[in-house]
Subunit: 363 residues, 2 copies
Amino acid sequence: MEEIESPTLLLNWQTAKANIDRMVEKARRHQLRLRPHLKTAQCLQIARYFEEKGVEQFTCSSFSMASFFAEGGIKDITVAFPVNVRETKTINALAAQIRLNILAVNAESLALLKNDLRHPVGVFLKIDVGTHRTGLLPEDETGIGACLREIESSNLLTFRGFLAHAGHSYTARSSEEILNVHHESTGILRRLKSKYQHRYPGLELSTGDTPTCSLADEGWNGIDEIRPGNFVFYDLMQVALGSCRMKDVAVALACPVVALHPDRHEAIVYGGGVHLSKDRMAWKGNEIFGLPVELTKSGWKLPEPGNYVRSLSQEHGVLHCSPHFFEKLKTGSLTGILPVHSCMMVDIADEYLLTTGERWEKM
Amino acid sequence: MEEIESPTLLLNWQTAKANIDRMVEKARRHQLRLRPHLKTAQCLQIARYFEEKGVEQFTCSSFSMASFFAEGGIKDITVAFPVNVRETKTINALAAQIRLNILAVNAESLALLKNDLRHPVGVFLKIDVGTHRTGLLPEDETGIGACLREIESSNLLTFRGFLAHAGHSYTARSSEEILNVHHESTGILRRLKSKYQHRYPGLELSTGDTPTCSLADEGWNGIDEIRPGNFVFYDLMQVALGSCRMKDVAVALACPVVALHPDRHEAIVYGGGVHLSKDRMAWKGNEIFGLPVELTKSGWKLPEPGNYVRSLSQEHGVLHCSPHFFEKLKTGSLTGILPVHSCMMVDIADEYLLTTGERWEKM
């Protein structure tokens, strides 16, 4: 810690490992395949730990991310983003190398893709289970049928099943609402399975976002695979949703303190939007961009009430502090910041500094 | 354009050059030194163009950015961020190589810095002219005096003058309000100059943010230097503030269209928070994350009413479209997105693709 000069992504690997272990155990308990999403961690060492726990299939959010992990030796990846047909060259390179699944939301993309495809690829149809971001509507038999026809007309495409991301669990205001989202969205998938499994006996159902996977302890029947990613680190958004406890948050940004304003109990840190991202959320009556925490030799303490990141510019963070917390800050010292959204903060950084001192490269 | 596979930062260099030319000319007209902020462009080719126009002094927002430009041959840089004393090693390396100015907001940082300083450094005192982010209050004679004493007690530190960033111009709701901010903040600096110039006859006043520098055509007397940065590219925020016209926006993100939802006239593009940043703003009654534009061979058309980026996930952008614009979108085609905040979008990218086809590396 003493050697940190500029904003640095800290990883408490003990905490992240415990988060991973809990999800691995939960998936096992419910006989679900855990296909963790690597968009949060973006790190080979973390993928390796999953492998040690028996997890060998992964999810990525882009073909470039999949290429990074394929080069690192990962052999089975679903790119859970509507297939971008402009990347057919990358798709072919990946499909030659690993077992690759893609996502389709319409027949047009499959029609365009199959012309230039050279290697086998599995296809999941993305179903809109209520988030209304994208996906085929579950009742859209015409759309689903058109996709299935495109898949069948190509000897390189194989229908793998239906996939959903219940992203509206993130706008839930209680654990009960999250569980409602879970039961509704898995119900939609189960109905599709019973409708199509006579034609496709091997079809699978894949779902999973961190809130429902963390909270739901039932309603998993019929589901084959879950794909949470954020749970490895969690963040303040997940604490607010009830997906985890504050002590489960496994990443923080270490920031040098550069100015103190005792008149308003505000501290300025080197650590802004280009380090934390501009993600924000409501937290105890304030709009916040993160929560400051005191750093220790082995990590960080839990946040104290009255402290929050009030605003971010490109490189500045403005911390609003309680008198007690403010007194401990010195110009030239370091403070930690817990992120609103760990995926966005981690995406920006080049590497992790583990609280044990080791450095791990990131994608 | 045809070769674009994934979200790509486009630069219309003709437009950016015209923006630069206008600001160079304006500075000349008002006898101001233009010390452009490179945090927006982060690109050596763009710094070179400034040099062609006679501009040889620059501003950076971090010592790592200053190191990048110093390696590229830039010889005079002000790091306009409260000095982070944990970076003394980098500061020494820079100060050995170039004419370096730093910013101080308190005496503590200067006291810590001077112990380890090995090469001469100029110091600007950062004045809080009303933004209340950081800086010494103009009436804080004790604070200013303490800083000046630290500077005088070191033979490597030289007092250069007072520096301000009227960041509250960004929250103005009209050009008139921006001009009020300009007159107030430059007035504060002028009063400081008359108060301290008997002791420091060479002291300079440095100010400047893109809104006031773009809009103010008077009230520059006594000011020596302006440091705008965003004006090179501008963005939707600056259009809304009246700093520029829509056709002056010089950067856009080219995004592949991956899904179309005719029922709600929404298109999904590959281009999310990790490409555009999560900056957002109010625009004609909606909260937006950017405006979609039709790409052409030589750049992009102006935005059409009824289209906006409704939401962003990590890799997804959701475009809300007018029926007319929606009809032109095809799965696998490209669309452009004008950014809410160009600095944040550009910071994320690795390179520019000029609309002429050339590629320029970024920091």
